[in-house]
Amino acid sequence: MKPSAPTTLIAGILLVVCLGTSGFARYHLDQTRSRTSPDEVLYVESPRVIKRLSLGYDGLLADIYWTRAVQYFGTKHVLGSRQYPLLGPLLVITTVLDPHLTVAYEFGGNFLAPQPPYGAGMPQQAVQLAEYGIRNNPDDWKIYYDLGFIYYMELKDYSKAADAFARGANVPNAHPFLRVMAAQMAQHAGELQMARMMWVTAYQSTQDRDIRANAASHLLALQVDEDVTNLEKLASLYRERTGHWPSNFSELEATGLLRALPVDPLGHLYRLAPEGRVEVQEPDKFPFIKKGTPPGYTPPIPKFLPSD
């Protein structure tokens, strides 16, 4: 039967009109929902229930929950949020669904442990996550390293950090630095050199672009902190000798305290502020520095993910 031309025309027009208006209605619906409905909800919180509901396809579901955790952290991180109530549960669900998803322990700890604005400020949950990862992947030395890292950097519990590194050092094919770190932890805990060694290991032990960038950024910051400390000491020494603060680094160079004008790791000259304070020219380029920033400086939200 030949299709009726008027019917085709009317149905075609109606289709386009309905498509357009339904899209418009949908847009308004989304706007209303985002204003009224609670933002952070996990409809099923029990990881065991979710595992049962997956009908054995738990690997794919774990990937979906991991992606959800990454998106959740990334979105809130970009907005400068200091509260991440769903991050812990999302990571628990992910790792219960797939206990061998090591990337979730590696990055999950990095999301959970650091204080805001760098992370969620939940180091204890990060420790629990890493311990769960070790129970399920006892031969993966990186998780022991992550655990020690959290104890060292965030909780400042050096004995537990040493213990984690020592446990990791006994794993076959563990990075040799783990044994060194476990041994040196007792003597050099809290020192700049120790922190540098840990970030170098973090950089060397992964091929992941984001983790390497993060480690490199921390190493640059440590270098700046060390440079600023040393330069401020020289400025104080200059004052002891001359009775006044130097007005620029050339004066330090002229007295032989400096061999050349000092530059930061990115090649920019350090700036000498009043009263011997040393500052970097572009503090935004060093998101993790603790020294060398101008008074009242507010650091930008550090970039951690490629999606940031």
């Binding site: 049962r52 009908l55 054995g56 396809y57 794919l60 774990a62 990937d63 991991w66 998803l101 990055f107």
Partner: protein, 258 residues
């Protein structure tokens, strides 16, 4: 295999192709290419895992749906269209009809899985840039998925031999779900006491154990599958399929088709 079974099987295969069953490959191709391109942008460190997990899960689910929805109509559709009477009026035994239908649908699923496997490996090559030795375990996972299909096809055929298509679909899908909980059922049987223990133990051996045939997560993490496990699983799946097919033949032999 008798030529009659081969004829019925090839006709079943042709009918499935005519019914555009293989069109699911288009959806599968879109899914895989979308995942391969998108996941790297929205997640971290799981590009390969997602391709393997999503690819094998999709192969499994697409196949299960095809096995159930085509399988439930294998006998009932022939009765409804009265073509069964034409077939059985020739020198074709009823068991040959059941066997031919089974092999026809199983063949369709194997061909479908082979095309999907090509898609999975293509997506894997796209995200990993090269194949690795551990990728060969994906073939083992695909083999296990085919074993699942054989069991589900037999189950759908069993229900199709005595029940309506709707009820057959409900029964077959329910058995698939229960079979996915086989390990939990075994745990329950171990905990139960008295009559419950014996009933639960009986159920453990009666329902298909799909859980043990799911090695997708292990393969995604490049964990090897033991040879002994492959042999035992193959034996179990083939024996279970044979048992269900025998049940279908027994019921169909006694069914009054007037």
């Amino acid at each position: 295999m008798s030529t009659r079974i081969v004829h019925i099987a090839s006709n079943t295969f042709r009918e499935a192709v005519r019914d555009r069953v293989l069109y699911n490959l288009i959806a599968f191709a879109l899914l895989m290419s979308g995942a391969a391109v998108l996941v790297g942008q929205i997640s971290i460190g799981i590009e390969r895992l997602v391709v393997v997990n999503l690819g094998l899960t999709a192969v499994s689910l697409f196949g299960v749906v095809i096995a159930i929805f085509i399988g439930i109509g294998l006998v009932s559709k022939e009765i409804e269209k009265r073509t069964l009477y034409t077939v059985l009026s020739r020198p074709v035994r009823r068991w040959e009809f059941i066997a031919g239908k089974f092999f026809g649908l199983a063949g369709t699923l194997v061909v479908n899985t082979a095309f999907m496997a090509v898609g999975v490996f293509a997506a894997l090559l796209y995200v990993s840039r090269a194949f690795h030795r551990a990728d060969a375990w994906i073939l083992v996972a695909l083999y296990f998925i085919v074993l699942q299909f054989l069991m589900i096809t037999a189950i759908a055929l069993l229900f199709s031999s005595f029940s309506s298509p709707l009820l057959s679909a409900v029964f077959a899908f329910s058995l698939f779900v229960v079979g996915s909980f086989a390990e939990d059922l075994r745990g329950f049987a171990a905990l139960a006491r008295g009559v419950s223990h014996w009933l639960a133990t009986g159920a453990v051996y009666l329902v298909p154990n799909f859980a043990s045939l799911n090695v997708i997560s292990s393969v995604a993490h490049e964990q090897p599958i033991a040879k002994q496990f492959v042999v035992s699983s193959s034996l179990y799946a083939l024996l279970y399929t044979g048992m269900v097919l025998c049940g279908a033949v027994l019921i169909f032999e006694r069914r009054n088709l007037k």
